[in-house]
Symmetry: C2
Subunit: 335 residues, 2 copies
C-alpha cells in the first residue's frame, strides 16, 4: 500500500497524489476529490520513513528528564507532550537517570534518531560548576539542533532556557517569615544544581538583608525524601538547635517537616511554620495543608514549546526567559 497504488487506482500520477497529500494548491478540485476518495477507500497512510528520508525530519522532539516518575517532572513531561502534539510534533521520552555518562549516551541516541529538537527538563542536567566540561556535550549537540532547557540554565549558541525565578521566590518567602516574627529558619534542599544553588542563595540573602546570622546547621542538603527531611530535623532537635520555621526546595521535604512537628507535638504554624516548593499534590495531603511555592511548570513548558516553534520558523527567540513563581498560602504559615 503506497503512493503508487493510490495513483494507479485514481488514474493520476504519484506527483499529483503527493500534491494532494501535502495540500499543494495546484490541483484541480475534481482530481483532488477523486484522489482523496481513493486514499480513503484504500485506507492509505503515507510512509513516514520515506518522507523523512527526503525531508530529513520526522517532526519529532526528544524530551529528556532524569526521572519521569518524579511528580514535578511527570507534570512537565505531560505539559510538554501536550504542547508539542498541539504543534503536530511527536515526543520521544528519555529518562536518563543522573549519571553524566547516561545523559551523554541518551543525547547521542536522540541525535542519531534525527529528532528535530531536544528539550531538557529539570536543572539536574547541568553541572552548575562554571569551570567544568560536564556540559560540553550539550553545547556540542546544540551545533546540530536547537536545545531547550526547562528550568535549567546554560548559555550557548542555539540553546534556549525557560526558567522560574527560584531565587526571588525563596527570598521573598523567607523574608515573609522573618517579617512575621520567625527568628530561626531552617532551609532544606535536595540538589546543588543551578536552580538548587539559586534557591539557597535566596534564603541566605533574605537572612542577611534582615541582619540575621546564617547558621551552617540551618541549611542542609538531603535526599528528596519525606523520611530524610524528618530525620534531619530530629537531629537538630536532639542537638538543641532550635528553629521556628522550615523552608524547603520540594514539597516532599515539607511533608517531612510536618511529620516532625507531629512527632514532637509542635503546633503548626505557631510553633513551626513550614513552606513547601512546587505546589504539588503533596501540599494538599498533609494536615494542615502546605503553604507552597508554585514554580509554574505549565507556563514554563508552554513557553519552552512556543520558543522552540519560533526557532523552527526562524524567529528571534531570547536566550533566557524567566517566569516568576507564585506563593500559594495555605495553613502551615501564618502570614
Amino acid at each position: 500500500m503506497n503512493i503508487y497504488d493510490v495513483s494507479e487506482k485514481a488514474g493520476v500520477s504519484i506527483a499529483t497524489v503527493s500534491r494532494v497529500i501535502n495540500g499543494n494548491s495546484n490541483v484541480s478540485e475534481k482530481t483532488k476529490l477523486r484522489v482523496l476518495s481513493v486514499m480513503e477507500e484504500l485506507g492509505y497512510t503515507p510512509n513516514v520513513f520515506a518522507r523523512g528520508l527526503g525531508l530529513n525530519t520526522m517532526k519529532t522532539i526528544g524530551i529528556m528528564c532524569t526521572d519521569s516518575s518524579d511528580i514535578y517532572l511527570a507534570n512537565a513531561v505531560y505539559f510538554l507532550e501536550r504542547e508539542l502534539r498541539f504543534n503536530a510534533y511527536d515526543s520521544i521520552l528519555c529518562c536518563t537517570g543522573t549519571s553524566l555518562e547516561n545523559k551523554m549516551q541518551y543525547l547521542n541516541l536522540l541525535l542519531s534518531k534525527r529528532v528535530d529538537g531536544i528539550i531538557l527538563v529539570g536543572s539536574k542536567f547541568l553541572s552548575s560548576d562554571p569551570d567544568t566540561s560536564d556540559n560540553d556535550y550539550i553545547l556540542k549537540a546544540a551545533k546540530q539542533l536547537p536545545i531547550m532547557l526547562v528550568n535549567g540554565q546554560l548559555s550557548g549558541d542555539n540553546i534556549f532556557c525557560t526558567l522560574c525565578d527560584d531565587k526571588s521566590a525563596v527570598y521573598s518567602v523567607t523574608d515573609d517569615l522573618i517579617k512575621s516574627g520567625r527568628k530561626n529558619i531552617v532551609y532544606l534542599y535536595t540538589s546543588t544544581s543551578y536552580s538548587g544553588k539559586d534557591k539557597l542563595s535566596g534564603y541566605k540573602k533574605a537572612l542577611e538583608d534582615n541582619h540575621l546570622e546564617v547558621n551552617p546547621d540551618c541549611f542542609h542538603m538531603c535526599t528528596k525524601s519525606i523520611v530524610r527531611a524528618k530525620e534531619y530535623l530530629n537531629e537538630l532537635y536532639l542537638n538543641n538547635i532550635s528553629f521556628d520555621a522550615v523552608v524547603t526546595s520540594d514539597d516532599s521535604l515539607a511533608v517531612g517537616a510536618v511529620k516532625f512537628a507531629f512527632e514532637h507535638s509542635l503546633n503548626i504554624p505557631s510553633d513551626l511554620s513550614i513552606v513547601g516548593y512546587n505546589n504539588s499534590v503533596l501540599a494538599n495531603c498533609t494536615e494542615p495543608e502546605l503553604t507552597s511555592i508554585d514554580s509554574k511548570v505549565e507556563t514554563l513548558c508552554v513557553t519552552a514549546v512556543e520558543s522552540l516553534m519560533k526557532v523552527f520558523s526562524g524567529g528571534k527567540v531570547p536566550e533566557r526567559t524567566v517566569i516568576s513563581a507564585d506563593l500559594i498560602k495555605r495553613n502551615t504559615t501564618n502570614f
Copy 2:
C-alpha cells in the same frame, strides 16, 4: 555524511560498511577494524529514515495513556520507558485524555508513524460495556501490530493483557476489615472501567460472603480528588449513615478520608479504618500513614514489555497475565 563517504574513505563497498554496522559476521577482522576507525573518524551515524524505509521499522513503541501526570500512570510510563530502552526500543508518548474521539485519533497517528507496537496503559482506554463498539478501534489496530494492555482487559487477536488481580485485592482487604470487627464499610471508587468494576465486585462479594448487607449509599463513585472524597463522607455523616471503615480505589480518596476523620476528630484506625490503593507517595504523606494496596505497577510494566519482546521474536505469549497485589499495612488499619 553517509555510507558512501565511509565506504570510499575505507576503500570498500557500501555493502561491507553496512555489514560492519549491523554486526554481520562475514567480514574479515582487518577490514572491519578499518571501517570502524573510518566511521569513528568521520563521526558517522546511520540515517534512521533510510534504515526505516528498508526495514519498515524504527524500533519504536507507542505508549498511550490518558494522563501522564497522574501519579500511577507517570510511574507506569517511567517503568515502560526504562524497559523498552533496555531492549533498544524508543518510546513515543501520547497522552490522549479521556474522550473516545481523541483516543482513536492518537492511535491512528501512531499507526501512521509505523511504530512497532502500542502499549495502552490504564484501564481507562476500554469501555467495560461488553455490548459496545467503543473498543473496535483497538481490535482493528491489532490487525496491524501487537497491542499490549497494562492494567486493562480486552480479548482479541494480537492483544495481550497484563493486569493486577484487583478484585481479589479488594475482596481480601474488605474481608480483613470485617474479620477485625468492622461492620459498616464504605467503598469509594473513581471509575467504572474494567478494573473499576472488578474492584467494586470484590468489595461486594466480601460483604456477601460475610453475610453483610450491601448498602447502596456505602459504595460511591467520585472524581479522583481528595476534596471530593471528603465531601462525600461528610454527606454520609450529615445523613447519619454511620461507617467505621473506608476502602478506596485510589490513595487520593483515602487521603480525603483521613481529612474527613481529622475534621470530625475521629481516631484512626479505631473509629475509622482506611485503606488506600496503589501504594503511592501519598500513602506516606498523611498522619497516620495509609495502609494501601500495592498494585505492582513495576511488575506489570516489566511483564508487559517482556511479553511484547516475546511477541516480536515469534514466541508464544499468553493473552492474559494476572499479577497479585500486595497489601502494605501501615497505620490506618488495626490488623
